[in-house]
Amino acid sequence: MLDAKIPSGSLESKWTDYKGHVRLVNPANKRKIEVIIVGTGLAGASAAASLGELGYKVKAFCFQDSPRRAHSIAAQGGINASKNYQNDGDSVFRLFYDTIKGGDYRAREANVHRLAEVSGAIIDQCVAQGVPFAREYGGLLSNRSFGGTQVQRTFYAAGQTGQQLLIGAYQALERQVALGNVTMHTRHEMLDVVMIDGKARGIIARDLVSGKLERHFGHAVLLCTGGYGNVFYLSTNAMGSNVTAAWKAHKKGAYFSNPCFTQIHPTCIPVSGDHQSKLTLMSESLRNDGRIWVPKKQHDDRKANEIPEEERDYYLERRYPAFGNLVPRDVASRAAKERCDAGYGVGSSKQAVYLDYSDAIERYGKAEVNKRNLGNISHDEIMKLGKDVVKEKYGNLFDMYEKITGENPYEVPMRIYPAVHYTMGGLWVNYELQTTIPGLYALGECNFSDHGANRLGASALMQGLADGYFVIPYTVGNYLADEISTGSVPTSHPAFEETEKAVADRINTLKSINGKQTVESFHKRLGKIMWDKCGMARSEEGLKQAIQQIRDLKKEFWSDVRIPGSIDEFNPELDKAGRVADFIELGELMCIDALDRNESCGGHFREEYQTPDGEALRDDANYMYVSAWQYSKEHEWTLHKESLDYEVVKPSQRSYK
């Protein structure tokens, strides 16, 4: 039986009560306890800094050349917090409620409420670190709207909020490095968890420069390794983002939850050709002011500016009048796919819709005319003023669009299409963020806990920092309080030796295959299977085919992959081979999970289960659970279920109309 260890008491008092009664480790003992943190994005860097400040001996690892490069840096739009600075009706409860509803009633109430409770403290902490959030002329913090909400609770730093938050956490981390509390291992990849007496006691890591394997002991291991969107090959993730650390933990006994819950982001730059190596997101914040449309006529080949207003179909505003262009991501993505599949797509590929700023530019231009008392000026001049306002708000995003596509989005509407962006699924964790392996924790995107079947915009940054700054410093102590007497286990222990040998054997096996096909070519083929059959729409038949195709691909990979170079040098192809091998196994589990879930909810859309008007049709009677898969052996998993008992929110059909 899965025990989520949710504290008793009312929803609002659980976290306060927990903190009041949790066991503590005294400062002298903290100095003797070592904690390993894998990954240095928002969750990892904030956890490393906070635990270092508390006095634990922290060892942090990242595969990049600096902790500041983790992919949290690419988050654009913002971070939510229920500060209610806008006096527009926000509260902890409303943020909690929006997140549960946005997740299509597949998230755990207690975790989400805690997230909403600590959201305000995150903003305070970041401001104190010097994170340069956008401000109003009065010197106070500015907010904007995001999808799936009707209040303005998103804090931001132009289009680079993730960067500014990560640099804040990174600087806090480097401060602890300077103080000797954190040891940083860059260009290192975790390749297995070391288990002693059923507990996580360390990791085997590979130095990616020398290729050498290293043993590292820790009283606890925290995985902060992000999501697995790159299983689709094309996604908005960084090229190096991978599932390997989480997957190794899974194969050592950590259950993997809701792997099929993946988020397809509606506003990305469309694929331009076979050479495409990654997809670029255009921030959801653009839906604040931009209007999404396609031509009313099928297969309309006219240029966007040649299509008159009355021949444009603003389909989100038409279908969802209450939320309009700000419907949640899953809804917006499916609506775009529906229009393109029906023959209304635009651009040369016809797999795109328009995101149009001309109305916003005109509106802002007129507002400037009023503000500055400019009287009668020409339309061109109004538009110029409006463009300046838009440039201040979204300039870097518009520049990025122009660099990639060669088109000027101030003059012609952007073309956008949905792309894989975030994974709600991940390692199963209890209320304390501990996986099913004692001493092994998962924070941020790599756990499953807070976003249900669909994440709302600007909530990933909130969760990463909540877990790292404000949750783990309390919950890990509750475990470590029992470990004071453990002492440091020498890495000559047989468990370290055996695990290292297994890791070395796998690397040698991979290298010795010496086949004909490149790692990249396998990754592309896996991505195509996943996108076609386990992407925006899934069906029983497609998923069954996908499972077989993935099994075949795995066999082919292990008999015909070619890895150049040697294993004892800097060899990015070898690193990638190990990651793709793990993605192939994960892909199979994702399809199995999607096949098990005979309902549609959030980002998981089974074609067999939809309402007459094409909305997701949940089945609360049979599927109101978190799936938690236990690895048995190759191609075999056991399903455990954590049932979701809603005590406060009453699940209903999600409506944004």
């Binding site: 902790p67 840096i73 990654k278």
Partner: protein, 251 residues
């Protein structure tokens, strides 16, 4: 935008490791689409090299959307290539035409030793941040975010400085391999905000000391750093750094 294909000659720096002597190798690439990014062109070349049984070219890259600061190539003598305010990963092949020859090298600076081919070690930047590029505030000590009002102009200027992505193009562009633009961006970001005030003096002194220790060169005001910075960090930050340093030294 008209799309086209092109054939190109690449001269790429190859170096086995930190200690090996390096040199240029020449490669021909065919049918490169103008819609590809510069790194996707390298992907195509590397795939071919692997199939031919040769060693692919090592280069750093990660986000491929111009924000992580990992990519680092000197292209025809210019860090991040010919486009203004741009990173290598965002450079697209429509910048080139059929028949062009392109020379690609790593960042060159003593403080950035080559790891392999086009990959360098920028750990020196992390150590400069460790010397003082932070506000000493432990988790949980913060007052309410709106309890610290900040004049919008200062907040905007701090943001503009904080936009630095730590890629090192400023160092690669400088004939002295100076890191002044990088250091000044961090000093400015924090000096412009009230949160940075208590540690203002020791921060600038310690960061400069670490910069010197790492072996970066001096600034002789050529402004090549600003010209090549993908995030358009202004050299006025260097002026501010000098002022901060002088004030701190006089104290």
């Amino acid at each position: 935008m008209q799309h086209y294909n092109m054939n190109l000659t690449l001269k790429v720096w190859r170096q086995k490791d930190k200690n090996a002597a390096g040199g240029f190798e020449t490669y021909q690439v065919k049918d490169i689409s103008s819609e590809m990014s510069f790194l996707e062109m390298f992907d195509v070349l590397n795939e071919r090299l692997i199939v031919e049984g040769k060693e692919p070219i090592a280069f750093d890259h990660d986000c491929r959307e111009g924000i992580c600061g990992m990519c680092s190539m000197v292209i025809d003598g210019r860090p991040h290539g010919p486009w203004e305010a741009n990173t290598t990963c965002q450079l697209h092949m429509r910048a080139y035409k059929d028949g062009d020859t392109i020379v690609v090298e790593p960042w060159r600076a003593n403080a950035f030793p080559v790891v392999k081919d086009l990959v360098v070690d920028r750990g020196s930047f992390d150590r400069i941040i460790q010397a003082g590029g932070f506000v000493s505030v432990n988790t949980g000590n913060a007052v309410d975010g709106n309890a610290i009002p900040i004049e919008k102009d200062n907040a905007d200027a701090a943001f503009a400085a904080a936009a630095c992505i730590g890629c090192g193009a400023c160092v690669a562009a400088c004939k002295n391999s100076s890191a002044m633009l990088f250091v000044s961006a961090k000093v400015s970001h924090l000096a412009l905000l009230p949160q940075g005030e208590p540690e203002r003096r020791q921060r600038v002194v310690n960061m400069i000391a670490q910069m010197d220790k790492e072996g970066f060169g001096s600034c002789t005001n050529t402004y090549s750093c600003e010209a090549e910075c993908p995030k358009e960090i202004s050299v006025t930050n260097i002026a501010r750094l000098n002022r901060e340093y002088l004030q701190a030294s006089l104290k």
